[in-house]
């Protein structure tokens, strides 16, 4: 290890708590690497060195005073720039909110702070969290640290990139159709979309009331487990948040997955998949089998309904939220953002109501058939090799670019309609040197099981510890 920035989030937190490192030193290490790499990646929208240094010094003072320390004490972090902090900039990646300073602080930010963490910047993102690629008209496109012309995945593009470039220990992302898992896969990091309602959304920019989720992007599953233990649970300020008890997710990571039943879909998720992706998934399954898991192919039910219904819910809700700006200032959006929202106004209310009213019955029927046979599902997170930013640039590309753009999230969107907890972990590289993601989904509130299997995989592989070539010498 050459820098404190090379620690995982859990290692960094434990180092501060034990006195092996200071929070100030962690911050300086992250900052030095960010200064070296970020000009080529464009992962940040704003930074706050002065405020972060004051927070780091206060954290170090608390250690010296033997104060009670939280499990994330002294860990500097940056998040997708849509988590409100009262009085601080929160651009949501858009020119329309270039100067927006909210008056409230997100519950998840408060919970992270209560555990001892602090923020040192806001991360680049798709405008209003609305693309799966990392394009951004206002703040500039985000670039993949493994191969900069290729997409970073979105919409939590800066979250994935900053963690993959090893200058951020953990970043919150948001996931409405794959926006945590896609940048996790594209950048070779770990990303967890929790069960719908598992984490409070108070103080978080909304995109789709029904499909939005809050979750972490980290280098390891263990880091994800620690974060979700801190941020999950009911929040009176978000009445949609579940009252389900929150276990110690980190304690569930035993590595023992003997007898775990893994289902591999033989429909939809591998349609037109690229060879390097299927090879990587097959190899990952072999690793899990070696640990005692049992792999079963199965045909997933109701996928036509999931695709049809899931495809309209977030479009209608986003169109509703953005109606005033779409009337008064549509050219302020990137063309692919306003262009995607525009059809949402033509979807009939009965379609939307049908999609929502059948969501519960479809989940019950899906779970009864699938989770009676297997404990989790395993698929590629993205079923193709990563496309380039140019190949998916709707604003400047030819007609038909939309197809390639939408294909990026084909494997992640179904789990948003179903509301299932789903994680992406790195499992290989494509011929262009870009990472490949392994997606694991479980039944509602099975975050512990999903992370246990993902953690077992990381115990036997090193994809999550590999560093982009860009980091050499940084």
């Amino acid at each position: 290890m050459s820098s404190l920035a090379d620690l995982s989030m859990a290692e960094a937190a434990d180092a501060v708590r034990s006195g092996a490192a200071t929070s100030t030193a962690l911050l300086e290490a992250c900052w030095a690497r960010m200064d070296a790499l970020n000009p080529r990646l464009n992962a940040t929208i704003w930074t706050d060195r002065e405020g972060a240094m004051a927070a780091a010094q206060a954290a170090d003072e608390a250690v010296r005073n033997k104060a009670k320390l939280g499990v994330l004490h002294g860990v500097p972090m940056m998040h997708k720039d849509m988590y409100y902090q009262a009085g601080k900039l929160s651009t949501c990646g858009s020119a329309l909110r270039r100067d927006y300073r909210p008056t409230v602080t997100a519950t998840v930010i408060e919970r992270l702070a209560a555990a001892g963490a602090y923020t040192f910047g806001g991360l680049n993102m798709a405008e209003f969290a609305q693309n799966p690629t990392g394009h951004n008209k206002t703040f500039g496109d985000c670039h993949n640290p493994w191969n900069p012309p290729y997409i970073t995945g979105g919409s939590s593009s800066g979250s994935g990139v900053s963690v993959a470039a090893w200058f951020n220990y953990m970043a919150l992302g948001s996931d409405t159709g794959g926006s945590i898992r896609l940048p996790a896969a594209a950048n070779g990091v770990t990303g967890l979309k929790p069960t719908q309602t598992r984490v409070s959304r108070f103080g978080v920019m909304p995109l789709s009331f029904s499909h939005d989720n809050v979750g972490p992007l980290t280098r390891t599953v263990r880091d994800c487990a620690r974060v979700i233990t801190v941020i999950a649970g009911h929040d009176p300020r978000d009445p949609t948040s579940a009252r389900e008890p929150v276990p110690d997710y980190e304690a569930a990571l035993t590595g023992d997955i003997r007898g775990a039943r893994i289902g591999v879909p033989d429909n939809v998720f591998f349609d037109e998949a690229d060879g390097p992706v299927t090879v990587a998934i097959d190899r990952a399954l072999a690793v899990l089998v070696e640990r005692g898991a049992i792999v079963t192919p199965l045909t997933l039910p109701l996928m036509d309904a999931v695709a049809a219904y899931g495809g309209i819910v977030s479009r209608v809700e986003a169109a509703t939220i953005h109606a005033e700006w779409m009337r008064t200032d549509p050219q302020a959006y990137g063309a692919h953002i306003s262009g995607r929202m525009y059809p949402g106004y033509a979807i009939p209310a009965p379609y939307y109501v049908e999609a929502l009213s059948r969501r519960g019955p479809i989940l019950k029927a899906f779970a009864a058939e699938v989770f009676s046979k297997v404990d989790v599902l395993v698929t590629p997170t993205i079923r193709t090799c990563l496309p380039t930013l140019a190949e998916t640039d709707i604003d400047r590309g030819p007609p038909g670019t939309e197809t390639k753009f939408m294909a990026v999230s084909a494997n992640t969107r179904p789990f948003n309609y179903l509301g299932l907890p789903t994680i992406s972990v790195p499992c290989g590289f494509d011929p262009n040197g870009c990472p490949i993601g392994l997606q694991i989904a479980g039944r509602p509130f099975a975050e512990a099981r999903v992370m246990k299997i993902a953690d077992a995989y990381q115990r036997d592989t090193d994809f999550h510890t590999q560093r982009p070539p860009l980091l050499q010498g940084a």
Binding site: D304, A305, A307, A308, M326, R327, A346, R449
Partner: protein, 67 residues
């Protein structure tokens, strides 16, 4: 411009006061024909007896009970 797209644009303008922002928007609006087809394909294929339904209740009914 197809009749479907012309009708769609007129309806959006009338009901929402929103006009097509750009060509990608028009192309994606034209693709709503695929959405109509997908809904047509589902008609009569799904029979659920649990009405009224609640997604939150379904999450609870299908949740993990022991890891």
């Amino acid at each position: 411009m197809s009749t479907f797209l012309a009708q769609t644009e007129a309806m959006i303008a009338t009901w929402h006061g929103v006009t097509a922002p750009n060509e990608p928007g028009r192309r994606m609006a034209a693709e709503l024909a695929d959405t109509v087809a997908a809904f047509e394909k589902l008609r009569g294929t799904l029979v659920f007896e649990d009405e009224p339904s609640s997604f939150e209740a379904a999450l609870q009914a299908t949740k993990e009970t022991a890891a």
